[in-house]
């Protein structure tokens, strides 16, 4: 929608002359109603920021197509790891290029996407796991999401087989709880990784890869059960004892955002859990200055922005305005963004967030 509006604004500018840009083009009224206004000036600043961010990613790509960042894990409030070629960051960077409108071998960043795709395809193990330097299911899910989007948009045969095997691994790795954990075959699960897998499976299914309905249903059940009715947030882990007692763990902003996005993705649009969750997101929105010293600011915003975009209406316009201002202000002069995982990860994530309204990727469509 916003793309059309932007094009319309551009056309009008051409017709009327650059000196007389209509006022409406700077604060476009959306068709959702008169109160829901997208700030087109902000949108234009975002477009330029994305361009600089993508240029940064283009320059930091390794010759083999990968991107390097810290491969590690969250340890309490820290992020511990070591620098290495990162499957997840490579996938996210390529998704950022796709969301800009490039495809493997085509478009402004076609070459980068092609090389990134080759890197990921090379590292699909025989059992379907996409891993380098002992990366785990997070990275696998983002890589699968990228392959699914590429296959959905291009139908490349060489992607299809690898995508099928990587989707097969996700299906095989689902455990009895309906969720997933850091490693395939683990017998417990957590919300964060589960959501990544569900999004990847949904993208694969949209692209025509067979995903059993029972797998999605079990995962959705896990996500729904993770909702904490009292606070409205979604829990990191929950476990049901044989007596039926639910053991709860913490609720956080990124997990809640991820949970809502998953439910929207599964076709659940009207649910008390969603309303309470969106309310939770508004209340617990992270502060801008937290971005540099955390590892999950962009991760949370990535899902929260998708959730807000799906929700639409006033919720979205407000979210858009606040988030865009925060993220644009966090960009470094060289075009990058930064957090504890690394600049490539943060830049890719920030670009994707800013590109969500473009709806170039099927997974971001309303």
């Amino acid at each position: 929608m916003s793309i059309k509006n932007r094009l319309l604004a551009g056309s009008l500018a051409l017709v009327t002359g650059f000196a007389s840009i209509p006022v409406q083009s700077l604060s476009q009224v959306t068709d959702d109603g008169p109160r829901r206004v997208i700030d087109m000036k902000l949108q234009e600043r975002a477009r330029l920021a994305v361009e600089r961010g993508l240029e940064y990613l283009k320059n930091t790509q390794n010759p083999d197509g990968s991107w390097t960042d810290k491969i590690g894990r969250k340890v309490h409030y820290e992020y511990r790891g070591r620098l290495g070629k990162h499957v997840g960051v490579t996938a996210l960077a390529c998704i950022a290029f796709l969301a800009q409108g490039s495809l493997p071998g085509r478009g402004k960043y076609g070459e980068q996407v092609e090389k990134g795709l080759d890197f990921l395809l090379r590292n699909v193990q025989t059992n379907g796991f996409i891993t380098v330097n002992e990366s785990r299911m997070y990275s696998h899910a983002f890589a699968t999401l990228f392959l699914a989007e590429v296959y959905g948009m291009t139908g490349m045969d060489r992607v299809k087989e690898k995508l099928k095997s990587s989707v097969g691994l996700i299906i095989q790795a689902q455990n009895e709880t309906g969720g997933w954990r850091y490693q395939p075959g683990a017998d417990d699960a957590d919300m964060s990784i589960t959501v990544c897998q569900v999004v990847a499976l949904r993208a694969a299914r949209n692209a025509g890869i067979n995903v059993p309905k029972s797998v999605i249903d079990a995962a959705i059940k896990y996500v729904r059960n993770s909702s904490n009715i009292e606070s409205g947030g979604f829990m990191y882990q929950h476990e049901v004892s044989p007596t039926g007692r639910v053991q709860r763990s913490r609720t956080t902003f990124p997990l809640t955002a991820a949970g809502i996005t998953t439910l929207y993705g599964a076709g659940v649009y009207e649910d008390r859990v969603l309303d309470r969750g969106l309310s939770y997101l508004r209340r617990h929105r992270p502060r801008r200055y937290e971005a540099l010293n955390t590892f999950d600011y962009y991760y949370g915003m990535y899902y929260a922005t998708q959730a807000a975009f799906q929700r639409g209406g006033e919720y979205w316009t407000t979210w858009h305005r606040d988030t865009w201002r925060d993220i644009l202000s966090l960009q470094n002069p060289d075009g990058s963004w930064q957090d504890l995982v690394g600049p490539n990860y943060a830049t890719a994530m920030a670009c994707i967030i800013l590109e969500i309204p473009y709806q170039y990727l099927p997974i971001f469509e309303r």
Binding site: R73, A173, P184, G185, A186, D187, E239, P242
Partner: protein
């Protein structure tokens, strides 16, 4: 002219229709006889065949034979079908060449001689050419084309041998069966006897145990006195013999023993800290080390050196370097991983090529120190020079180089069968067959991908300990200890069966992780194969499984609690288990009938006892003696040798110093008993023998 041209198609159409109607009538009258010659397009050839047969039958033998052979040579390989008149109701089509061979064999002896005179020299020259080509298909052709000549046997034997050499044992067996068919009385003659061994070798390669057993019985009847030679040759044949890695029960030759020698204290070479224990058997300081026995020496692998001692004197013969690539790494389960295996001139052991650093958060494991173990092989005939190392940078095969080998392999006939694991999200377990001379992979086969316990950060909480490997009758059996037991063909790794079993739950239901030290019901036991039943005690299960070795079906499973941890093997048809009690049960009906349990009154020390033909031999910690306990419950246990009191080994656990009980793994090598623990090895022998040796 143009008018005629216009009429021609119409005329042809009418004639064609008339012909088609006629043909349809014939076809409907007798579909079989009408269609088959048309289908194969061999009407003309069949007429020639009938003509040749008529000539032979009518007395014009030479001309008939010549014509028959011409047809045979012309059609060989094309094999047009011909109707057989076996049944009036069903028309059966057979290859014409089969009919020609059958006709030639049915001829009178005079006619057959005529055939041989006519074609013997020609057959010989064709055979010579085929031999030079070393092509089994050409040899088959010679055998088929000249079925009555002497070259047939030679060609078939050579073709079978070549098929066997080319790893096609199925074809070899089929060819050899062909060589013995159709010769009636000759079937039990020299040819048949010589083929017995060949067929046995091929069956062994194919892993067809049932057929091999039948063939052995047949050979025992036919060969009689020569049967032992047959068995020897079979054992020395292209695969490891059935004797490799069998848990046999030797006769106890020491009744009144004394210590012959003790090695020096090699504990400084064993990187082990019981206080850090996260493995299965961190308490088992007396359990340790799996030695190997060569010709007059015993080999003991530590973390840093592979030590070889003279069995007679206990003197150190050689120490081979096992320098770990990660010096900080400390073993968790030394009972399992410090093994050495010897076969012929080869001696193998594993070593830590690399290990990840241990990392924790406030005492909670983030990741444990996970070793990656390479396997080294030395050639003892060349003063112990290193032949190969799977973890060497020079190894071109990435998969092999990054595979960790931590369970003892089986070595035989220049091959090494070893179970290895590799991380790819899952712990992937793969069976490798390596060339013992070069270390190059011959084949590899994935067995299972599964997980061990994980830390709350999703990393393996301990090193996966793979199970043992057993090679018997051309089949490799292995237990992954990760939810699967498999049988593969030793020759090419074809999977015969894979059995998945229920694993112990790795976590309690409320998501709390189990204590750091995890106990297993079972010790790492070798696989036991007795009368077609495979006995397995997986580390990740509490069950003892009795599996049909031919198809992988579970015949019975028994709760192992109270039976283990040691499964020692079978003797006299009974499976022997050792733990808090000494338990035996009939090997052919495990767990159902006649379970004998005996209390162990002589306080066994930690360590694996040895099974002998009439009981078990273990170290008594309380008495510092070697005890023999018979399987017969009536006979009381008796001390067969006193072990000199050793300085009490002490280790530190936390703030406390803990006294370790005396013990060790007991192994029997002829008239010597060797007790190995993490400090030293002790050898006992009969007092009389000792006196003679000293003299």
């Amino acid at each position: 002219m143009s008018h005629d041209r216009a009429l021609l198609p119409a005329v042809l159409l009418v004639v064609g229709m008339a012909f088609f109607c006629q043909a349809s009538r014939v076809a409907s009258a007798d579909v079989g006889s009408a269609l088959i010659p048309l289908l194969v397009g061999a009407d003309g050839v069949i007429q020639e065949y009938r003509d040749a047969v008529d000539r032979i039958d009518s007395g014009d033998s030479l001309e008939g034979i010549r014509r028959l052979q011409v047809i045979h040579e012309r059609i060989w390989g094309e094999d047009p079908l011909i109707l057989a008149s076996a049944s009036k109701e069903w028309r059966i089509a057979r290859p014409l060449s089969d009919r020609i061979i059958a006709k030639l064999r049915d001829m009178s002896p005079e006619q057959q001689n005529l055939y041989r005179q006519e074609y013997q020299s020609r057959a010989s020259s064709v055979l010579e050419r085929a031999m030079a080509e070393m092509d089994p298909t050409s040899l088959l052709r010679v055998a088929e084309l000249y079925p009555l000549t002497e070259v047939r046997e030679t060609a078939l034997l050579a073709a079978g041998d070549l098929f066997l050499e080319q790893d096609q044992p199925e074809l070899a067996i089929r060819v050899w069966q062909e060589a013995t068919s159709g010769f009636g009385e000759k079937a039990s003659g020299d040819l048949y006897q010589s083929l017995l061994l060949r067929r046995a070798i091929a069956l062994k390669r194919l892993g067809k145990r049932e057929e091999l057993r039948d063939l052995r019985k047949e050979a025992a009847k036919i060969l009689r006195d020569q049967f032992s030679e047959f068995e020897q040759l079979l054992d020395k044949s292209a695969l490891v013999s059935g004797e490799v890695d069998i848990v046999s029960a030797p006769r106890l030759q020491v009744t009144d023993g004394a210590i012959a020698w003790k090695t020096h204290d090699y504990s400084r070479h064993v990187a082990f800290s019981p206080s850090r224990g996260r493995g299965y058997y961190s308490d088992g300081t007396g359990a340790i080390l799996a030695p190997c026995f060569g010709d007059g020496w015993v080999g003991i692998a530590t973390s840093r050196k592979l030590l070889r001692y003279d069995l007679r004197t206990g003197k150190l013969i050689s120490d081979l370097n096992l320098r770990p690539g990660a010096p900080y790494f400390e073993e968790q389960d030394i009972a399992t991983r410090l093994w050495t295996v010897q076969e012929g001139d080869f001696i193998l052991s594993s070593y830590v090529a690399r290990a990840s650093r241990r990392e924790d958060y406030l005492g909670f494991d983030i990741q444990v120190s996970l070793p990656w173990r390479g396997m080294k092989c030395w050639d003892l005939s060349k003063s112990g020079s290193l032949l190969w190392d799977t973890a060497s940078r020079n190894v071109a095969d990435d998969m092999l180089r990054t595979t960790s080998f931590n369970s003892a392999p089986v070595v035989g006939d220049d091959r090494v069968w070893a179970l290895g694991w590799r991380k790819s999200g899952y712990i992937d377990v793969t069976m490798w067959c390596l060339d013992a001379k070069t270390g190059n992979g011959i084949w590899s086969r994935p067995i299972v991908g599964n997980q061990v316990d994980l830390t709350m950060f999703g990393e393996p909480a301990r090193e996966p300990i793979l199970g043992s490997v057993l090679v018997r009758d051309g089949v490799v059996y292995c237990c992954s200890n990760l939810g699967a037991i498999a049988a593969l063909r030793a020759w090419d790794g074809e999977v015969l069966w894979i059995l998945e079993y229920d694993r112990d739950s790795q976590r309690s239901y409320r998501g709390r992780y189990r204590p750091q030290r995890r106990n297993s019901i079972w010790a790492p036991n070798p696989l036991v194969l007795e009368d077609g039943v495979l006995f397995v005690t997986p580390l990740d299960s509490d069950q003892l499984y009795a599996i049909d070795a031919s198809n992988g079906q579970v015949k019975a499973h028994v709760q192992g609690k109270g039976l283990g941890p040691y499964m020692l093997g079978t003797t006299d048809g009974r499976l022997v288990l050792f733990g808090d009690l000494l338990t035996t049960m009939p090997a052919n009906d495990v767990g159902r009938t006649e379970i004998w349990k005996q209390a162990l009154t002589r306080s066994p020390g930690l360590g694996r006892p040895a099974l002998v033909s009439d009981g078990v031999v273990y170290v008594s910690a309380g008495e510092s003696a070697l005890i023999h306990q018979g399987l017969d419950p009536i006979k009381p246990p008796r001390s067969i040798a006193s072990l000199a009191p050793e300085e009490t080994p002490q280790t530190r656990r936390g703030l406390f110093r803990v006294e370790e009980s005396f013990g060790g793994r007991v192994d029997i090598d002829g008239e010597r008993i060797v007790i190995t623990n993490q400090n030293r090895a002790t050898c006992l022998t009969q007092k009389r023998v000792l006196r003679e040796e000293k003299r």
